[in-house]
Symmetry: C2
Subunit: 333 residues, 2 copies
């Protein structure tokens, strides 16, 4: 399928998932180039039964590479993705560096696969919170246009990387032992606490994570008339993101119709049992490919049966990042 | 102010806060009667510098009592509150037993203090999530009628009592030690997880906690035309509840107007700093009287500048329970 695949950020949380997914999906590739910063170069990473050396990312890392999966932050993508393209590779970039570039497709394979083929070397992978939300919203939007989305997120530590996940565990133990919490990766204590997503806030008052959920939804759906507002919150969960999603549709819609559509939707698993209660939870969404969707109910605050409330959980590292990027790459074969 | 005050549920999490607030506020009372179930009777509780015996709650516990603060669950309130009233006491009840009874006032002192004086022996204290939400929403509603509320909650373990708080701590240590989580108080693991509030779900698909937020808001505001939808979620936080609140107003409103109104509103503390970012967090809301409000911004999904987004945190045990009840009692003096 590909001859030489580079993974940029091979020692990170998403890099780890890239490797695991490539193994599971049985990619036929001649050679893998595992890349990381100078700090991690020299480490070995277990892949396909072998310990493989991680090389330092440099300008010549992409010679002979035909696919490069990037997940090492926006700065690295901005600097090195054009080099990879110049060397002849297609880049699937997990950072926010190119997502809103009109020349770069932003793709969720279940939604806008055709966009992937319009690339000029780089295809952007959407933000994790966006992907997890649009996976169930898209099939509903196709059946009955969504006019407005109000979303509140419950985002796990994994969205900030492996060091953030470690900090949550270490810090939680410190707090249980009566020691003061010492935040390093995050600006505030996350153990037994939560805080608004700490990305920069623009003049509208929205933070960058919220702006991503709004603008990326428009770009993926090819529709910037949908009203979207988001409140993004970090919670003391390790790896799956959850979201409370309130939808307003153009036409009346019932919970049964929603359940029927979602039960057939790709990438969705309906978890909506009343007795005993069983709804989406991050500990059950972690490590699986589907986004869990439940609490499907008519929003009684909206007239004319045009509102639906949902609660969803999806693995931030898989469908929210590595899996979606791997699926994009598979579209190209 | 009162001659004899009974505290029903004196050994519970809210009971503990009743005692702490009465001490802080310097109530002048001749005698306290500390009551609990047979299981806790015989314990001592520290109050006003003395270890005081906790007595078993019986039908004769209220002889001579003129104020009874109840926080021992709906079943106990249903059984014993009428006994306390028959004995001549006024009951301020923290359970849901009487909240929607049309003959029982449901009071937040900052909002509808006059209702307290219409009691026939029992005054109900609203649900914690409701109180924390309506404290900032009411002054905005008075300035510009609120037409619709979409709220997602981030509720702490304390809402399920002291044993639930202990379970979160014990279970978190077990999970960190690689042991399986054993939920007892909650139906699911709460450590590093979250789940939809596990109160019973009715035929509309809303759970009882969500229904409380909707109906109690209508009763406290004397206005059942406000559209309210809620998604209530339990998160691994110890004691303060947070809420993402999306508001639709009748007339245009700006974030500056909201900030101006909230900066003067009783029971509210605006925490809304951009640089460095500082917004409401449960670890800062715990143990204080005010509800923290921040992330005040124009909701860009709504036309005509009629939408506002907020994020709030409030101590579930204080303003969400004991403090509000104590304030109701003070209205009666």
């Amino acid at each position: 399928m590909f001859q030489t695949v580079a993974i940029v950020g091979a020692t990170g949380a998403v890099g780890h998932e890239f490797i695991s997914l490539i193994e599971q999906r049985g990619w036929q590739v001649d050679r893998y180039v595992l890349l990381a910063s100078a700090r991690s170069a020299g480490c070995t990473v277990r892949m396909l039964g072998h310990d493989r050396a991680v090389e330092e990312l440099t300008e010549s890392s992409f010679d002979g590479v035909d696919l490069a999966l990037f997940s090492a932050g926006g700065g690295i993508s901005k600097q090195f993705a054009p080099r990879a393209v110049a060397a002849g590779a297609v880049v699937v970039d997990n950072s926010s560096a190119f997502r809103m570039d009109p020349e770069v497709p932003l793709v969720v394979p279940e939604i806008n696969p055709a966009d992937a083929h319009r690339h000029r070397g780089i295809i952007a992978n959407p933000n994790c919170s966006t992907i997890i939300m649009v996976i169930p919203v898209w099939p509903l939007h196709r059946a009955n246009p969504v006019k407005r989305i109000v979303v509140s997120t419950y985002q796990s530590a994994s969205g900030a990387g492996m060091r953030a996940m470690e900090e949550l565990q270490t810090q939680t133990r410190e707090v249980l032992d009566g020691k003061p919490a010492k935040p390093r990766v995050f600006p505030f204590q996350l153990a037994f606490n939560l805080f608004c997503h700490n990305s920069p806030i623009d003049e509208t008052g929205y933070n960058a994570e919220e702006v991503k959920m709004i603008r990326e939804t428009w770009k993926i759906f090819h529709d910037d008339t949908i009203g979207v507002t988001a409140t993004c919150v970090r919670v003391p969960v390790l790896r799956a993101h959850s979201e409370a999603v309130n939808l307003t549709f153009e036409n009346p819609i019932t919970p049964d119709e929603v359940r029927e559509i979602l039960s057939k939707a790709p990438g969705v698993r309906v978890v909506d049992r009343l007795d005993p209660q069983h709804f989406p939870m991050p500990i059950e969404a972690g490590g699986i490919d589907e986004v869990l969707v439940g609490r499907i109910r008519q929003d009684i605050s909206q007239p004319g049966s045009r509102g639906i409330d949902l609660f969803i959980s999806g693995d931030q590292l898989r469908k929210g990042a590595a899996l979606n990027a791997v699926q994009i790459a598979e579209l190209l074969v």
